[in-house]
Amino acid sequence: MTTAEKKLRIAKEELENIIKICENIEKRGLNPFTVNVKELLSKLRKTLEETPDLDYYVMDAETVYKIATLVALQHKWLKEKARALFVDAQMIATRLVAMDKKSIVRAFLKAWRPIVSLEHMTPHRLRQGIEHFLGLPPRGGGRTWGWKISQREVELIKGKIAEEEEIAEKLKELREELMKTYEEKGEVDYWEFIKRDRFEESFERAYLLSFLITEGYVDVKRNPLKNEIKLIPRKEKVKREQSVSLVITIGGELGERRR
C-alpha cells in the first residue's frame, strides 16, 4: 500500500467515525453540544484539501450533511431546554432518587390530568365482529362442529348406512335359514351350519351368526365331551341374564376346530 493510499484510508476512517458519532447522538437522544462542530468542520476542510479523491468527496458530503443534522438537533435541544426551564436533567434525576414514592406521586399529580373515556360496544364494532366470524376458515382436519357438513362426510355417512342395511338383510336371511333347518332337523350343528364351499363364505356366516347369538335370537348348547356345538333358534328375542363368552377359532381349514 502506497503512502497516498494509506492516507486516504485513514481519512475515510475518520469520516466514518464522525458520521457514527452524529448518528449515535441523533438515535440515542444524547446532548448534541458534546460535539465541537466548529472543530469538526475545520478538520474536514483541511483533510479535503489534502485528499483529492472522488470517493472521499462523496463521503465528505455525507459527513457535512450529518453535521448539519447535528446543528439542527442543537437548535431543537435548546428549544426543548428553554421549554423545560433550562432544568438540568441530572438535578431532576438526583431529586427523584432522593425522594420517597409518595412525594414523587404528589408532585406528579399536580401536572397530570388523565383522559376521561369509557369503552362501549358500537353497532359498527358488532358488524365487524360478525363479518370476522363469518369469514373464518374451517378448522384444520375438517369441521367437527357447526351446521355445515362437508361432501366427504356425506359420502362416508351414505356408505355406512348402506353397509348397515346390507348386514341387517344378511342377518335376517341367516336367521330364517337357521329357523327352517331347525324346524326340519331339530338342533343344528354349528359347524355344519356355517360350512360352505369357500372359506370366506363360511367365515362370513360364522361372523353374522355371532351377532344373532349375542342379540339373543339363537341359543348355543355346547357338549364338551362330544366336542359338539348345537344351535337353537328363537322366534322371539331372549334377554340374556348372564352373558358368557365362547371363543371359536376358525383355521385355514374349516375342519380344524379348536376352542
Binding site: R28, E80, A84, V87, A107, F108, L109, R113, P114
Partner: protein
C-alpha cells in the same frame, strides 16, 4: 324541532362522542365533530366545556398538524389535579404512578428522549428490577411512553395530552426533603 332542542341534542351527541371511545385511542378528531355537529362545532364544544367544568372535567384540544382545528384531536380530561386518595379509587397503585412519574420526569427533563438503560437505572433505586420493567412496560402499553428499536424511550401520545410538562418539572424541583414531606403527610392523614 326548535333551535334550542337541536342545540341540546348536538350537545348530547358531542358529549357521547368525546366520552365514549369509538377508536383504538380515545379522543375525536375535529373533522369528525364537524361531520356530526356541523361547521359551528366549536360553539357546541365551548358550551359542553362550560357544562363539564362544573363536574371538574374539561375539553382539551391537542393540535397535531399546525393550528388546524379540523386536524386537532379533542379529549375530555380532568380539570383539576387528582388527590393522592383519589388514586386508590381510580384503579392506580401508588407504585405504578410513582414509576410513571419517574419515567416521564426523566424524559421531559431530557427534552422528551432518553435511553431505556438510564430510565431503568433510576427506577431500580425505587423498585426491584422485574417490577421496574413491568411498570415501564405498562406505561408503554398505555401510550405514555414509546420505545424505539434502539432501546430509546420517548414521550408517548398520552403523555403529550395528559401532562403539563412545565408544571411537572416545576413541581419536581419544588419537592421537599423526605423529613418535611413525612410531617406533611402525617398532618394530611
Amino acid at each position: 324541532m326548535s333551535g334550542e332542542d337541536s342545540f341540546s341534542k348536538k350537545l348530547m351527541t358531542a358529549a357521547a362522542m368525546l366520552l365514549f371511545r369509538s377508536h383504538r385511542k380515545p379522543g375525536v378528531k375535529g373533522w369528525e365533530l364537524k361531520y356530526r355537529l356541523g361547521k359551528n362545532y366549536m360553539k357546541i364544544i365551548d358550551a359542553l366545556n362550560s357544562h363539564l367544568k362544573r363536574l371538574g372535567l374539561e375539553v382539551k384540544t391537542v393540535f397535531e398538524e399546525g393550528e388546524d382545528l379540523d386536524k386537532a384531536r379533542f379529549y375530555i380530561t380532568l380539570a383539576r389535579p387528582l388527590m393522592l386518595s383519589d388514586l386508590v379509587t381510580s384503579g392506580w397503585s401508588i407504585d405504578e404512578v410513582a414509576a410513571l412519574a419517574v419515567t416521564l420526569s426523566i424524559l421531559v427533563s431530557r427534552g422528551g428522549k432518553a435511553p431505556l438503560k438510564d430510565v431503568l437505572e433510576v427506577l431500580e433505586t425505587k423498585f426491584p428490577k422485574w417490577k421496574a420493567e413491568a411498570h415501564l412496560e405498562r406505561a408503554i402499553r398505555r401510550g405514555y411512553v414509546e420505545k424505539s428499536e434502539e432501546d430509546v424511550l420517548t414521550l408517548g401520545w398520552r403523555a403529550k395530552v395528559e401532562l403539563d410538562q412545565k408544571e411537572l418539572l416545576t413541581s419536581m424541583l419544588e419537592l421537599q426533603p423526605p423529613e418535611q414531606t413525612k410531617e406533611e403527610s402525617e398532618g394530611e392523614e
